[in-house]
């Protein structure tokens, strides 16, 4: 056994792979553990860090803008400008500053989440009905109590809606990250594009789409669990 080659089945591609058909299930099976699964895990990691950091920034900015209206304009304008820059261009523009690093990718990904998250958190906070605010004040709530126990819970549906869009679009954008660093589901796509190997392109592409749809569904379930009242009202 010890005399066997380190890379098994090297050069022994199946007929499907040799003919470069649209999709070869045997290749996916053989390369799941070595290529696709690590790429998927890296992709989830890239996305999770970007959405978490983007949410932290956008959330604080929205709280500040909710209190001081003056902050809204500049932050919204800044995040809208970032949002308009095409992703490959933004990655490239950052490379001279932060190099070919995870940091470059994360800065760009975080930048793209800001506009959506900031707007949704702020809209959610502002959607509290005036009579509810009045009632909270009448009960003697301080400004902070009103924010944390009245406005934020009521803003949850809008906040989760923003998180859904941000997560799904970050998953989509993170495929392009492979242009800068060899990580994520974009990597097998870029590698396969060199020799135009269809199965790898299609498998990685479908995985990215499936990941986005699953993440979206999980966030919908999380929203239902977090806001039982919204669901109850609809069915009542």
């Amino acid at each position: 056994m010890t005399n066997e080659p380190v890379i098994p089945e090297f050069g022994e591609a199946s007929r499907c792979v040799a003919e470069n058909r649209f999709f070869c299930a045997d290749w996916v099976r053989d390369n799941w553990a070595g290529v696709l699964q690590p790429a998927l895990v890296e992709h989830v990691k890239l996305t999770a860090i970007a959405v978490a950091a983007g949410f932290a920034i956008a959330f604080v900015a929205a709280l500040v803008a909710h209190r001081f209206r003056l902050v809204e304009g500049p932050f919204a304008a800044f995040s809208a400008i970032v949002y308009t820059i095409p992703s490959i261009a933004l990655f490239q523009l950052l490379v001279p500053v932060t190099g070919l690093s995870v940091l470059t990718v994360e800065i760009a990904l975080v930048g793209y989440t800001l506009l959506i998250l900031f707007r949704n958190v702020l809209e959610g906070l502002r959607s509290t009905p005036p009579e509810v605010l009045e009632a909270a004040r009448g009960m003697g709530c301080t400004r902070r109590q009103t924010l944390w126990s009245v406005e934020l819970p009521l803003a949850l549906p809008a906040i989760v809606a923003g998180l859904r869009v941000a997560t799904v679009s970050t998953i989509a954008l993170a495929t392009i990250a492979a242009f800068v660093i060899p990580e994520g589901l974009g990597r097998p796509i870029f590698v396969a594009l060199r020799d135009y190997f269809k199965t790898e392109i299609v498998a990685a592409g479908l995985l990215a789409i499936a990941l986005a749809l699953v993440a979206d569904a999980l966030l919908v379930l999380a929203q239902r669990a977090l806001t039982p009242w919204a669901h109850a009202r609809r069915t009542a």
């Binding site: 095409p86 809209e123 869009v165 679009s169």
Partner: protein
């Protein structure tokens, strides 16, 4: 950091020295984006408006944008490459697939959400279904419908850069070819693509404002990447 600033300086000299190349690629980029957007408009606007007019198919129309957003442009273009091969057609199809969802959803929501009182009043005046659509629903729906087109345009101009991997031409050809154009070329092309996206967005924003009936102008959103805040609640 200092090296970074130097690179940007080189990038600007690249833009000046290679302006003819950049102009040619920009034109290619605009032709590709324009063609994709045109096809997407022809497909999505009539369908969305009709569904909204009949208040039907809300599930499909609203979820189109959600599913569309989940489609990574790189994956769509790469998978399209496996089906149609290299060239303009593949890229065009991929870009149309990416542009249809936001246009469809916004067209549907825009017409569907027109004030029922206004539609009722128009009916009461004896207008037919077609007249209600043309003279009441469409003018009132225009701002939101156009917001969807604007979102799709920004998205298409950005995604068209990735088209270069599938032989679609455009500014992406420079961005993906570090071997020939080096870092200053990459950064220079990135600057040009960003400016192009801003210009497209600003021009469409102006058009959106011009097309909006005067009475509705205050309500026009400045920039609406999606309609989730409106439909998600």
């Amino acid at each position: 950091m200092i090296a970074g600033i130097g690179t940007f300086g080189d990038a600007f000299s690249f833009i000046v020295e290679r302006r003819e190349l950049l102009l040619e690629k920009t034109v290619e980029h605009l032709v590709l984006s324009g063609a994709a957007l045109g096809v997407a408009l022809v497909l999505a606007v009539p369908l969305g408006v009709w569904l909204g007019h009949r208040h039907r198919g809300s599930f499909i129309a609203i979820n189109a944008a959600n599913v569309g957003r989940a489609l990574p442009s790189l994956a769509v273009i790469a998978i399209g490459l496996s089906v149609f091969g290299f060239g303009f057609t593949n890229v065009l199809v991929a870009l149309v697939v990416l542009a249809v969802p936001p246009i469809l959803t916004n067209a549907y929501v825009a017409v569907d959400e027109v004030e029922p009182d206004a539609v009722e009043a128009a009916r009461g005046m004896g207008m037919t279904g077609g007249q209600v659509l043309r003279r009441v629903e469409l003018p009132l729906a225009l701002p939101l419908l156009f917001a969807g087109i604007r979102t799709a345009s920004v998205y298409v101009v950005a995604s068209a850069t990735i088209a270069a991997i599938a032989g679609g031409g455009g500014l992406g050809e420079i961005l993906f070819n570090q071997a020939s154009y080096r870092t200053e070329g990459l950064v220079g092309a990135a600057i040009v693509v960003s400016l192009l996206a801003f210009t497209a967005d600003a021009a469409l924003g102006g058009l959106q404002r011009a097309l909006t009936p005067r009475g509705l102008r205050r309500k026009v959103p400045a920039f609406e990447p999606d309609v989730v805040t409106r439909t998600g609640r």
